[in-house]
């Protein structure tokens, strides 16, 4: 399972990008994108913004107010995208590329995929195979949400820095922030 996490400003400028792999179930936390996939990722994330804008103004699932966590919103081939939106219209996008086995594509099929799948992989997969990755399973949603909550906390602390002008589209360079994102990723994904 490989992830790309990107923070986008309200004007679609990427402020922060982090690539990592799963740390669950013996994962080493290193992203396994092929070169072609890596080149595609920004395009996929950018195109998902259309759906974000749609979901952001759609009716909220909770009774009170629009949620910040928009859950899984978009999919391109085998790339699933989840979104968290902050009050300042800054978008957190997480692109998930499950391993082929977790999609039921690998030769091994769904047999071993479930056992080694990460928490975000979701045990309650589709009806077909037990280990299939499903972006809408509760376990996946919860794991991604926890990750986003942690990142959001770190983000708030970063933009409270008086020397950081998020409104100007300033790119986040803080190593502390990156470390915190990495820690959250390691913890939940």
């Amino acid at each position: 399972m490989s992830y790309t996490f990107t923070i986008l400003s309200p004007t679609d400028t990427p402020l922060f990008t982090h690539e990592f792999g799963t740390s669950r179930s013996g994962g080493d936390g290193i992203a396994r994108f092929t070169t072609a996939e890596r080149a595609q990722n920004p395009f996929i994330l950018h195109s998902a913004l259309d759906i974000v804008e749609e979901a952001q103004w759609g009716q909220s699932t909770t009774a009170t107010s629009a949620p910040m966590y928009l859950k899984h919103i978009d999919k391109y081939q085998n790339n699933f995208i989840s979104c968290w939106i902050t009050g300042g219209n800054v978008r957190f996008l997480l692109l998930t590329r499950p391993r082929d086995e977790a999609l039921g594509l690998g030769s091994g099929g769904s047999g071993g995929g479930g056992a080694r799948g990460s928490l975000a992989g979701g045990r309650a997969g589709l009806a077909g195979g037990a280990g299939l990755y499903s972006p809408t399973s509760p376990a996946t949603e919860e794991a991604v949400k926890n990750f986003f909550v942690d990142v959001y906390e770190a983000w708030l602390k970063t933009i409270m820095n008086p020397f950081f002008h998020v409104g100007n589209g300033e790119v986040v360079k803080s190593p502390v922030f990156r470390a915190r994102v990495a820690a959250a990723a390691k913890k939940y994904l």
């Binding site: 986008l8 004007t11 679609d12 400028t13 990427p14 070169t35 072609a36 890596r38 080149a39 990722n41 920004p42 395009f43 996929i44 994330l45 950018h46 195109s47 913004l49 259309d50 759906i51 804008e53 749609e54 103004w57 391109y76 081939q77």
Partner: protein
């Protein structure tokens, strides 16, 4: 550098210094020499005419293909006062830039089929005119559009006129069965078994390729040929689709002519299969020459052969179709009084269903006064067109092999077709629709019909009269599950026929409700292929109808229908029919796209589905990727902020399409897609300084720049051969050098792919990282 245009690329300037010019001519020479030996490079005028004619057909609705933002005045839109198809426009206002083209195409694809049978003398005479295919070849082009308006009365009695009605003249035995997947390839299907059965058979099918479509691989190959032709003839001063690559056409994201061609060939030559009756003959022409000593006897003989004899169609085709008798009179040698006498007696026998066709028998040449070129068939199948292209490529003959016929013949045939359609075929269909609606459908719809369909499942119903088919007795339904069809007199088969007739007569409402009933029946019988067919056509009828469609019904009904159809066509049982699944998805997406806004999302989803389950080959996937982009581009969003637009999605898919085209070495298409993408992203191609493009991600920018350079390289290689004299215009440019380096690396791969049918998938490095490495490696040249 200026943004390169499709049709008129700026010739790059080459460095004047010695070292560079020593490198460049060498690499430019190699494509030139290889190109010269390619068969399709030969500028054969007859071949050109073939390609040109096909493309001019692509826009056969005079202006609906060129959907510029002013499309609302194009005929075919609802807004135009004198709309040619009155009342058939899509109800929701067409978004700007969207044309009705594909809806019309679909409408014209599903038309009644008329089989043609002629006696030996007629065939002999027409072959003497230089038409090898006999009467069928002569009639076929004229059936495609019936001259004048055709008025059709629908089931509730309202009549509507259509200008674009047509019929297909076919040899019914041509289209039998689905083409086998194994035989799909450059080799043509040669149907010797059928051809030897009888000498008086219409088309000499032993020499001609199959007239049946439904083979996706061949469609792809054909479109590939057209694409290659366009790539190599960019600079020919001829009017063809290349000249549509002007900036004006670029702003039209609605369709590329190649996609239209793909769709058209997908719908051409529908195979004759049990689960749909579109290609079953509605009528049959039996033609007998007046030279025959006893025409009446000959008519009887041919009729008997068609009914029970050797020309009998398979048992799942209803044999009770309309017979139309034609007496072919030969102007030069025939005796008019005798012929008209004969014809009068025919009229007494057959009523309206006969015609006296007066043709000239001598061969017509181009220089004759009233010579008219036999029109090209719009709706020939992919294999036929491929065969024709191959034939013209291999012959060195400069002259156009298309036969010419005298003007009087054209008039006679036009009159004949018009009379056939307006006086016989359509009334026949209307009558049957009314009859079946009363006797079969109403009974099935009523309370007793429901009970019957229920009880049918528990009691052995109808097994007594179906003694001829062995599987019938054991099963409780009318479905013969062993052989996979319903007998033509079973109520299900009649209802399917009724629905298909309604669809062909453009009575979408009745066809929708009938397909709906059929769907549940087929599901009960577990006739999955039939079920898929009914679901497909139900979805299409719902989308074709002019009634507004709420988004709720759309998501609830249409989506399930399309889903069910595509699923049942592909996944159920082992007999998958990917062609039909592709047809379902492609037509569904086109019609959904016309409905604009949120339906466009669904359209894009279906296109992506077709890509995902691998229904299309390399060319098709590039075309469909482009189409996804076009679907998203239709959605413009609300207000000045364009809320809910799919601009970025469209741009993304356009870039994917550009990459796909590049891998297929179709530089023109790739460039077009890339320009579309950049336009959609709201950035201009390149500013004057050669940079500063406002794409948000630096990686995206790098990717696009690389892609553009590689496309440029491909273009240079493609047209290297006609750059020889332009040395003075040569200008130093970094891009040019870089691009040519890429070419230098694999000239073999390029050349091979040009000759062979299958282009290699990956050419040159596409990743930014690799490309960077390249640049460094070749720095010594600068």
């Amino acid at each position: 550098m200026t943004p390169p245009q499709d049709a008129t690329p700026k010739p790059p300037k080459y460095p004047a210094d010695l070292q560079a010019s020593m490198i460049l001519p060498k690499q430019r020479a190699s494509p030139a020499s290889s190109l010269a030996s390619l068969p399709y490079r030969r500028s054969n005028p007859s071949l050109h005419k073939l390609f040109e004619s096909t493309t001019s057909i692509s826009g056969s609705r005079p202006s609906s293909g060129t959907a510029t933002p002013t499309a609302s005045v194009v005929p075919g839109s609802v807004f135009s006062p004198g709309a040619r198809q009155n009342g058939t426009g899509t109800p929701s206002t067409l978004p700007p830039g969207v044309s009705d083209e594909h809806r019309t195409l679909i409408q014209r694809a599903f038309v009644p089929h008329v089989s043609v049978l002629a006696d030996a003398e007629t065939e002999e005479m027409i072959r003497g005119k230089g038409l090898e295919g006999g009467l069928l070849q002569l009639l076929r082009p004229f059936g495609e559009t019936v001259p004048g308006k055709v008025t059709i009365r629908d089931s509730i009695g309202a009549s509507k006129s259509h200008e674009d009605f047509g019929i297909r003249f076919v040899n019914p035995n041509d289209g039998l069965g689905l083409p086998s997947q194994a035989g799909s390839g450059p080799t043509l299907h040669i149907d010797t078994a059928n051809g030897q059965r009888d000498s008086a058979r219409i088309s000499s099918s032993s020499v001609r390729p199959r007239k049946v479509g439904g083979d996706v691989a061949q469609i792809e190959e054909l479109v590939d040929r057209h694409l290659q032709y366009s790539e190599f003839n960019t600079h020919d001063p001829v009017p063809d689709y290349l000249n549509q690559g002007e900036p004006a056409a670029q702003s039209d994201s609605s369709s590329s002519p190649f996609y239209t061609l793909y769709l058209r060939r997908l719908l051409s030559g529908l195979p004759t299969v049990p689960h749909e009756t579109f290609s079953h003959p509605v009528a049959s022409i039996i033609a007998v020459s007046s030279k025959n000593p006893n025409p009446t006897e000959e008519f009887r003989r041919l009729y008997a052969r068609q009914r029970d004899g050797d020309l009998r169609l398979p048992q799942w085709i209803d044999n009770e179709y309309l017979r139309y008798y034609v007496l072919v009179h030969e102007e030069e040698t025939g005796d008019v009084t005798k012929s008209s006498q004969q014809f009068d007696s025919m009229k007494r026998h057959f009523g309206l269903n006969c015609h006296l066709l007066r043709l000239k028998s001598q061969q017509c040449i181009v220089s004759d006064d009233d010579a008219v070129r036999l029109p090209t068939c719009e709706w020939m199948s992919a294999s036929e067109e491929l065969a024709e292209i191959q034939q013209r490529e291999t012959t060195d003959d400069i002259t156009d092999p298309t036969p010419y016929i005298p003007d009087s013949d054209v008039t006679a045939i036009r009159t004949f077709v018009r009379e056939l359609v307006a006086q016989s075929v359509i009334p026949h269909m209307e009558r049957h629709v009314a009859l079946w609606n009363d006797q079969v459908l109403a009974r099935r719809r009523g309370i007793s019909g429901r009970f019957m369909s229920l009880s049918k499942r528990w009691t052995p119903f109808g097994s007594s009269r179906n003694s001829s088919s062995p599987a019938m007795g054991s099963s409780n339904s009318n479905y013969d599950s062993l052989q996979g069809f319903y007998r033509p007199d079973a109520p299900e088969a009649l209802m399917r026929k009724l629905a298909d007739y309604c669809f062909m007569l453009r009575d979408w409402k009745l066809s929708l409700s009938t397909y709906d009933i059929l769907r549940s029946d087929f599901q009960n019988d577990k006739a999955w292929r039939h079920y898929a067919g009914a679901a497909e056509m139900a979805a299409l009828s719902a989308l074709m109808s002019t009634a507004p469609l709420s988004s709720k019904t759309r998501t609830e009904n249409i989506d399930t229908l399309i889903e069910a159809a595509s699923y049942s066509y592909t996944d159920r049982q082992r007999s998958a029919a990917p062609y039909y699944a592709l047809r379902t998805l492609a037509l569904g997406l086109e019609l959904l796209r016309l409905r604009g806004s949120s339906a466009a999302d669904d359209a894009a989803r279906w296109a992506a589905r077709a890509l995902e389950i691998g229904l299309v080959g390399a060319i098709g996937s590039a075309l469909f990727t482009e189409r996804v982009s076009a679907c998203y581009a239709v959605r413009t969003g609300i207000g000045s902020l364009h809320l809910g637009s799919r601009r970025r999605k469209a741009a993304f898919w356009a870039i994917m399409a550009a990459e796909a085209w590049f891998r297929l070495e179709k530089a023109l298409q790739a460039e077009k897609c890339l320009d579309t993408a950049l336009r959609l992203s709201g950035t201009r191609a390149e500013s004057k300084e050669g940079g500063a493009v406002g794409l948000p991600f630096p990686q995206m920018q790098a990717f696009i720049d690389d892609l553009r350079q590689q496309i440029l390289g491909l273009r240079l290689q493609m047209r290297g051969y006609d750059e020889e004299g332009d040395e003075e215009e040569v200008r130093q440019s970094l891009e040019v050098e870089e691009a040519t380096e890429t070419l230098d690396k694999s000239p073999r791969a390029h050349r091979k792919s040009l000759i062979g049918a299958a282009p290699p998938m990956v050419v040159g490095p596409l990743s930014p990282a690799l490309e960077r490495g390249d640049e460094k490696g070749h720095d010594r040249f600068e």
